[in-house]
Structures are given as C-alpha cells and as structure tokens.
Amino acid sequence: MQHVNSWRDVAAATGAADRAAAEEGVRHAYRTAGLAEPGQIVWAQSPRAAVGIVEKLADAGRSVREEVRTRPWAEERRRMYDELGPAGWSALWSATGAQLWETTAALAERIRSGVVADLAPRPEDEGAVRLVLLDAVLGQHDAAWLAAFDGRGDRLTGLAEVARNAGWWWPYENAVVISERPQVLHRDEAGRLDHGEGPALAYGDGFALYAWRGMPVPAAFLEELASLTPHRIREEENAELRRVMLEYYGYDRYLTESGARPVHRDETGILWRIALDGDEDVVMVEVVNSTPEPDGTHRTYWLRVPPATRTAKEGVAWTFGLEGAAYAPVRQT
C-alpha cells in the first residue's frame, strides 16, 4: 500500500513536468523494447495540443505503442500471474491497481472526451482525433497498473519513469510527443472532478474540463452559480443542471428561502421534501455529525434519498443500504 499511495500521488500530480527525467524514461522504454532511441522529442502543453502536434508530425514513422507499452505490460502481467497464481495476482491487483483504477480511468476518459469535443466540432471529424488518441501512452494516468508492477522487475522502469514525471505521450519510430501534466486538478473526496469556481482540470494552454461532483458542466454555467436565486433554480429546465444548482446554492438555504417544512423528524434526523416542477421531488435527510468540530459545534449536513422515503430514519438507513427497522447503531462518531 505504500506503493499505492505514491502512485495515487502520481495520478493526481500537477505542475511542470521534469522534462529531463521524462525524456530519460522515454529513451529507457525504447531501449527496453529493443528499439532505437527516438530522434526527436517534442513537448506539448496538454493532450489536446499533443494531438495537434502528432497530426502534423512529418517522418515520425509508425506508432510503437505496442512494443513500448502494451507488449512489455502484457508479458510482465503474464510472468507475475504465473508466479503468483490466480488468487495471488487477484490479491495483488486488489491491493494496488484496483484502488486507483476507477478514478484514474474515469479521469482519462474525461480527458479523451474533452480533446475530441475541442478538436472535432463536427461528428465526422471525431474518428481522426480518436485514432490519434489510441496511440497515446497515458503517463501519469497509467498509475493504476504501474502500481501493481512496482518493485517487481525492471522491465517497466522506463514507462514508470515517464509516468512519474509527465503526462500523456505518443511513441513513434522516430519521434515522441509528450504532454505536460495539468496545472490545476480539483477533485472531491471520492476522486471525482469537482470545482465550483473554475475548471476542475486545466492545462497550461487553456485546455480545461469543468465538472461538479464528477458531472460535466459548461464553463458558463459555473459563472452563473455565484449569483443564483431560488427563482432561477426553479426556472432551470435541465434537471441535471438544476440539481447542481441546488447543491451549490445549499439545500439548507434553499429550504429556508423557499419556505419548505420538515416532513418527518426522529432520533436520526429530519426529513425534508422540495417539490419541483417537471422533476421528481428532492427528498433529503438532515443529519447532525456525531463528532464535534474543533470549535465544539456539530456540523449539519444533508443527504439526498429516494423520493419514496417516508421517515428520517428510513432515509438514513437507505444511505447504508438498509431498511429503516434494521438501522440501529449502538455507537456513532
């Protein structure tokens, strides 16, 4: 798990690449693959810029992603699988790569979609951009599987070295294009892209993704959040955006200003309901954190629960996958 945490940091690293170290990693990966070192290494500010550069490269030769990344990875995986057995490999993966897989893979997919959306405004142009993206080695975003192999051989040392020091990269016979890492990355505690005051992910050249708790939102939408009113929230026709508005505005504030009344109250908390036109009701349990904050106060928070919820206890129980009657903690902090 020590390795996992260092790779967790790699996946979330921001700021300027260590270009010398990354380039040495690239050359190392080529040598390990039995290839001549690339004649040319070109840096890009973002994966989007890198795709543009790759499209214009002259004499780059064919993609060597298979030799540099895929084959060594597959052979190392086979070697370790044979050495550890199915259960051993599964345990290793579960303790390492699986911990990082979901959030990192989701982030990489969001970047891909963002690059495609920016570079291919017409659907007929998407194919060309996606083809270039297929040649990419994900650098820092390969952290999940690199974590599983860390310390178990030197075959992937070059790939790991690039991952620790740079973003995505494109290996071709005669040339390599490497992207810088993002300058900004905001995620919530669950690892999802999340920022209310600007891009959740931004590279040095302005390539950026906006998101609220993982949900992609338009940049202009975020600018509007600061000046929301209950009236504006009720008027919003897009149900997903309206949910984001409600979360940003604060359920408590909205409840107060819209004159909502509690539906039910018991020892676990208070149940609230807000009726929305054209959408299902928002039903929430208001609960008080059991452990006091450093200043002695107790933090109140709201959790949204299914609209059919009838009591506060039923709502809290649902958040843990239980029926209301089954929820009975003897101790909570």
Binding site: M1, A87, E189, V305, P306, F320, P329, T333
Partner: protein
C-alpha cells in the same frame, strides 16, 4: 452496529459469512500497517483498524467489505472519535447518496 462518519460497521455471525470469502485473499495493509476501511482521495484521511485481523473486499472500490477481528480492535479516523469493536466478523458499508438515475457514494 457501529458508525464512524460515512462508514457503517455491522456485526456478522461467522456462519453468515459467505463461504468463498473465508478463503478469499486479504486486502493488504497500508504503509502504517493498518486495515483501511475507506480512504479519502483528497485529504488522505482514512477509516482504519490497527492490530490483528483481516479485511476482504467483496466487489467494487467502495465495498461492501468483510472485516474479521479475532481479538477485537479500534476504528480510528483523523476527524472522528475512535470506536472500539468487539472480536468477530463485520460487514463494512460506505454511505451512499441518492441522485436521480444514479447512486453516488458519500465522501466525508
């Protein structure tokens, strides 16, 4: 049944532990030798247990998980009071939140 923030820990009879999990591989301990029940991606704060025991993940990155403490143990977290647990088997569940068309986990 015990609750520390967004993690619920439910006692489980050993006979109720699904047989495959008795032989399933354990989750590895973290760098500090702890069994990590849930980890915050950003703060790095963890709901964790020290001492002898095993943790078995059933499916998915957010649990549920099975925890076995042959001598009991203590669940610690940077922001929540410690909870002592008796010896035995437990099911560990992360809190979730309803979102229309999807269910999201809660991260405290």
């Amino acid at each position: 049944m015990y609750r520390q923030g967004d993690v619920l820990i439910m006692a489980l009879e050993e006979s109720a532990v699904p047989a495959p999990f008795l032989k399933a591989p354990d989750e590895l301990r973290d760098g500090r030798g702890r069994l990590v029940l849930a980890l915050g991606e950003v703060t790095g704060h963890a709901h964790a247990v020290q001492g002898p025991g095993r943790l078995i993940r059933e499916a998915g990155p957010f649990g549920p998980m099975l925890l076995h403490l042959p001598e009991g143990g203590r669940v610690v977290h940077e922001e929540h009071a410690t909870i002592p647990l008796p010896q035995g088997w437990f099911r560990v569940v992360r809190q979730r939140e309803y979102a229309p068309g999807a269910i999201r986990i809660v991260a405290d």
